[in-house]
């Protein structure tokens, strides 16, 4: 199968999203003022899920075309298993970290409150719900979403084969039902629901996948999107102006926070249309104005981000652990500005190093002759998507 050259824009933006996720996950971090979430109603989570949907369709859509539904499904399930194992590993690390901290915390005000940490009061239940992806401690909520979305992806692909608009209509109907009724997925402890509601976020994933699938089928959608460009620019500009006014108001009170009474809070769990519509407008702008062969993805700095994006699972997992560690260092040792910069820099460096090593390892493996059939080789190589 002649593989078309990889769309480097996807890796670039995913690499950027990974860094933003790391920075945003460190509380009281001054650099978090300069990430997407402070200037726009959407954040790195949308970028991550959209690109994941797009890449999944690109990779598994091609596998589907080349080797059939069963092989593509097997490939997807293998990826789901990798993600699941990674998530459970993170989960165990997180519990260890929290348990250690709780052991050392001895505080007149907080002993009572800390007892609600379920992992300590009923570990036998917490572990089961952890395995069922229902127990999602802080930051361990986006991988479960991705796992579930990928798990149903074979059905989405089958649907795409029949009719892409039909699948999107179904996804939209489910999304609308969530917005109208507050439908959600139950989580643990009882009464909680999934932080990233898969019933809502599936819509963004499906949109990304439909666009990626269009590319597999060789359909260009950017030509038609040009007509929508002015509307998209207006939407993104006003959403950005509103969100920035809120951020500036937070920093300096006399600055007016525009429409805050009417619009705030904007639900992230249910992917409020106030997040989704501006984000899709941004996608349209970027896809239309930044061509595939744009020069800036070739620059040295972009190459580093592309490197991160290419090894997103490893880098993402590491980033989660590092931001928890960063939180701990800032709270326990020193929370000064210098330390904040050091923590951010060290974290990004560690993420970059991991990606660089993973990339080197992969290239070495590829250089040595492989006994495997070519089709599998291509599938594996393209499968990094995610």
């Amino acid at each position: 199968m002649p593989a078309s050259p990889r769309d480097l824009r996807l890796d670039f933006f995913r690499g950027l999203a990974l860094i933003l996720i790391f920075v945003d996950h460190i509380p009281e971090n001054i650099l978090a003022y300069f990430t997407l979430q402070e200037i726009a109603p959407y954040d790195a989570a949308e970028v991550f899920i959209f690109i994941s949907g797009f890449t999944a369709a690109l990779v598994y859509g091609r596998a589907f075309e080349a080797s059939g539904a069963f092989y593509a499904t097997a490939q997807i399930l293998r990826r789901v298993w990798q993600l699941y194992v990674a998530h459970i590993f993170l989960f165990v690390m997180f519990i260890a970290e929290v348990s250690y901290t709780v052991m050392t915390v001895n505080n007149p005000m907080y002993n009572e409150e800390m007892r609600i940490g379920r992992f300590l009061s009923e570990p036998h239940l917490a572990i089961i719900h952890g395995l069922l992806l229902q127990f999602q401690p802080a930051f361990l909520d986006i991988l479960p979403l991705y796992i579930v979305l990928l798990l149903v992806f074979p059905l989405i692909l089958l649907g795409f084969r029949m009719s892409v608009p039909a699948v999107l209509t179904g996804a939209l109907a489910l999304y609308a039902a969530v917005q109208a009724t507050g439908l959600s997925m139950p989580a643990y402890p009882p009464g909680r629901s999934w932080f990233f509601n898969p019933l809502a976020w599936q819509f963004l994933f499906a949109i990304g996948a439909a666009l990626g699938y269009g590319q597999v089928r060789g359909r260009a959608w950017t030509a038609r999107s040009r007509a929508l460009l002015p509307a998209a620019v207006v939407i993104v500009a006003s959403a950005t102006a509103i969100k920035m006014s809120w951020t500036l108001h937070g920093l300096w009170e006399p600055f007016p926070a525009l429409f805050v009474k009417e619009l705030w809070p904007i639900s992230k769990s249910d992917l409020s249309p106030l997040r989704l519509i501006p984000f899709l407008s941004l996608v349209l702008i970027v896809a239309t104005l930044v061509p595939r062969d744009t020069r800036f993805v070739g620059s040295a700095a972009s190459q580093q981000l592309i490197l991160l994006g290419r090894h997103s699972l490893e880098v993402f997992c590491l980033g989660i652990l590092l931001s928890a560690l960063g939180h701990f260092i800032l709270a326990e040792i020193d929370s000064g500005i210098a330390m904040q910069f050091a923590v951010n820099a060290a974290g990004v460096l560690a993420m970059w190093l991991t990606a660089a090593i993973a990339d080197w390892y992969k290239r070495m493996g590829r250089a040595s002759p492989s006994p495997r059939p070519a089709a599998i080789e291509i599938g594996e190589r393209r499968e990094i998507g995610g």
Binding site: P27, E28, Y33, P108, I116, L251, W264, I266, S269
Partner: protein, 251 residues
Amino acid sequence: MRRRVAAPAIRLAGLLFAAAIAPAPGAPPAPADCRVPAELARVEAKLSGLRARVAAGGPLTIIAIGDASTAGIKVGGADLAYPHWLQEALARAWPGRPVTVVNKGVAHQSTEEMLARFGPDVIAARPALAIWETGIVDAVQNTETEDFATALRSGIDMLHRRGVDVVLMDMQFSRKATALVDFGRYLDAIHQVGEVNGVYVFPRYAMMRYWNEEHMFDLDARSQKEEAAVAAAVYRCIGHRLAAAIVEATQ
């Protein structure tokens, strides 16, 4: 929004600049060991409903709804919890008006769970003022901040519709707990709700952080006995500081 945790450097500068003690006019003097910088003693919102009730005379009922730190679990009960001290301080501020502060603290409750008992615990008593202390459980459980904010706003709406004035109280500070829990997002949310709805938010977290930084209270005490003693002293200061703020908001 990140107002409360906003730029620690800016906040610190503010604290240093305004390190004066700022008693509210007409308020009972808080004990000297409860001092806070002027920035933290500032009250902008007004409690006009309560002011009318105070002016009209007659007995006043105030409901303190919250979690373990309202109930006073750590100090063995309501007698040493902040609502008790609040009642004492308000009685001195408004001589001749019998003030009753009813403690409706229940440990381990999230904002959503407290909201569910607003009917019997708050509204049924037809209080002049409700003090809603919340956010700790939500932060520990990592509730979505938007859900937290929505629950707060519906609680405030419910009380305002019935003519009950509201004061919100944010979380407790603990240096150690911040290593585990990200309070910043919840502090931002509760202060944002206060601002959007014109409700005073008592800055308990910032005050306790100040007391800890100034070594006025050792919030990392070790023994059980020390812990209870520190908690009792902090609750007393919270009660007096809150009384001063309420008196100022009714002037």
